[in-house]
């Protein structure tokens, strides 16, 4: 697909986006909506500019928390999955527990992490984000590592391949699409984990900027901070998607089929 065609694909989305903003601005004028309910889009953009120094440093702090948690939680999830895939009995003992743990609202532990770790360091927020990322990455990676076709294992065994070679050459490539799906979910969870933990009093963070601005009736700044958080979340998601596109170039389900 050429660049022009690709750009054309985006046109409908851009139109809908602009129409949505216009509708937003217009409904505030028509229905006379108070700014504590919903500020005008333009006022939010304006606040972004006037508060740029606060937002920049707050955004950077929260992004570090989210990225740190994402990296720690996702790596731990993948590592655990590799161990559980190797020792199946351990896996079948721990998997029900992991799935149950996945259903726990981990965000509820956030204040506890503040007690466990130094609340002035980013550690408690990273811990919350990491635990949020851990379970979906673990469950999906394990599913990927174990969903190898038996015939592919037989082919490898016919070459006298050992477990390590089978893991590297068959299990890991099979698992990659599963891993990337989980990582995309994890970027969103990491951002949620960081922001919500911030609410419990991280000085100079995005979460606390939102909370304090609301307390001071400075709703434009609160919305500006939410906008920054959204942009950071989207950027993390895009980064993982690009890595996925690069790593899974071979995947037939991801591209137009050109038959030889």
């Amino acid at each position: 697909m050429n660049v022009a065609a690709r750009a054309r694909d985006w046109v409908p989305a851009i139109i809908v986006f602009c129409a949505g903003i216009a509708l937003w601005q217009l409904s505030i004028e028509i229905f006379n909506i108070q700014k504590f309910l919903l500020p005008k889009p333009w006022a939010i953009v304006h606040a972004c500019w006037t508060q740029r120094h606060t937002l920049w440093s707050a955004g950077w702090l929260t992004l570090k928390e989210a990225l740190g948690g994402f990296a720690i939680g996702s790596s731990a999830g993948m590592l655990f999955a590799a161990v559980l895939a190797r020792f199946r009995r351990l896996g079948s003992a721990l998997m029900p527990i992991a799935i149950a743990a996945n259903a726990i609202p981990i965000i509820a532990f956030s204040p506890i992490f503040n007690a466990w770790f130094d609340p002035l360091s980013p550690a408690p927020r990273m811990a919350t984000a990491a635990v949020l990322c851990f379970f979906p990455v673990l469950v999906n990676t394990l599913r990927g590592l174990t969903s190898v076709r038996p015939a592919q294992i037989e082919v490898m065994r016919s070459y006298a391949a050992g477990e390590v070679a089978i893991f590297r050459r068959v299990r890991v490539p099979t698992a990659l699409p599963f891993v990337f799906s989980a990582l995309k979910v994890a970027t969103v969870l990491a951002m949620i984990g960081a922001i919500v933990s911030d609410y419990f009093g991280t000085f100079g963070s995005l979460g606390i900027t939102i909370k304090n601005s609301v307390a001071l009736f400075d709703f434009e700044t609160a919305w500006a901070a939410i906008l920054v958080a959204s942009i950071l979340g989207v950027l993390m998601y895009i980064a993982v998607s690009l890595a996925e596109r690069f790593a899974l170039q071979w995947d037939p389900t991801r591209q137009e089929r050109g038959t030889a």
Binding site: R149, A151, Q152, E154, V155, M156, R157, S158, Y159, A160, A161, A165, R169, V170, P173, L176, W250, D251, P252, R257, G258, T259, A260
Partner: protein, 265 residues
Amino acid sequence: MSVVAIHGVTKTFPKGNVTALQEIDLEIEPGEFVSLIGPSGCGKSTLLRVIGDLIQPSAGSVDVNGKAAHQARLDHDYGIVFQDSVLFDWRTVAKNIALPLEMLDWNRAKRKDRVEEMMRLVELQGFGDHHPWQLSGGMQMRVAIARALAFEPPLLLMDEPFGALDEMTRERLNIELLGIWRRMESTVVFVTHSISEAVFLSTRVVVMSPRPGRIAGVVDIDLPQPRTVDTREDPHFFELVTAVRELLRGVGADEHGSVPAEETA
């Protein structure tokens, strides 16, 4: 010395207490092309996997090239081709063919040369950088054959390799396979549902019967080599097809001697 020597092989699966193979004795000499044919559940795929040390027999012994099947597998004594080509989607055609060579620790240059050679053999020159899903079913099967033959194993095991292909592609690949077999001077054990395919390809057809899986009879195929498209019109070809069909009828196969699904468990 036999390439494959099977003595008293029995295989029972604990699940459902199925006797997949019972007291199988079979010797395969170098350069033979032996087909295993029989209705579903006769254990022909199981027997192939026992030869390849992918399934352990419950009793009896299998020797390949004068050593235990397990050692033969570790020594890379055979190549195997399954019904579904079982290519690795994330590898290009060239890298799929190179996979067994990687397992043998061949260096890059040596691998590249051999892959080129194999792609010429199966007439896939220029497709090295394609991914498997970009090829037709027949081409994918040729890649699988090239991969199985890349390290020149003395024995080629094939489990219904052309079962999923259309009749025209199948007949063409039959002739190509015979050409490769002659050039490589290898021994082939070939599992199939098709009587005419078995007779056309083989030097010997082993007819198996189900429940429990046993050898019901062996038909020597004395058609002249090399086999060509005309072989299928030779009156003797039809006599041999009839002989195999009669044997299959005796073991309870249907009119065509073929049942679509074969358990491989």
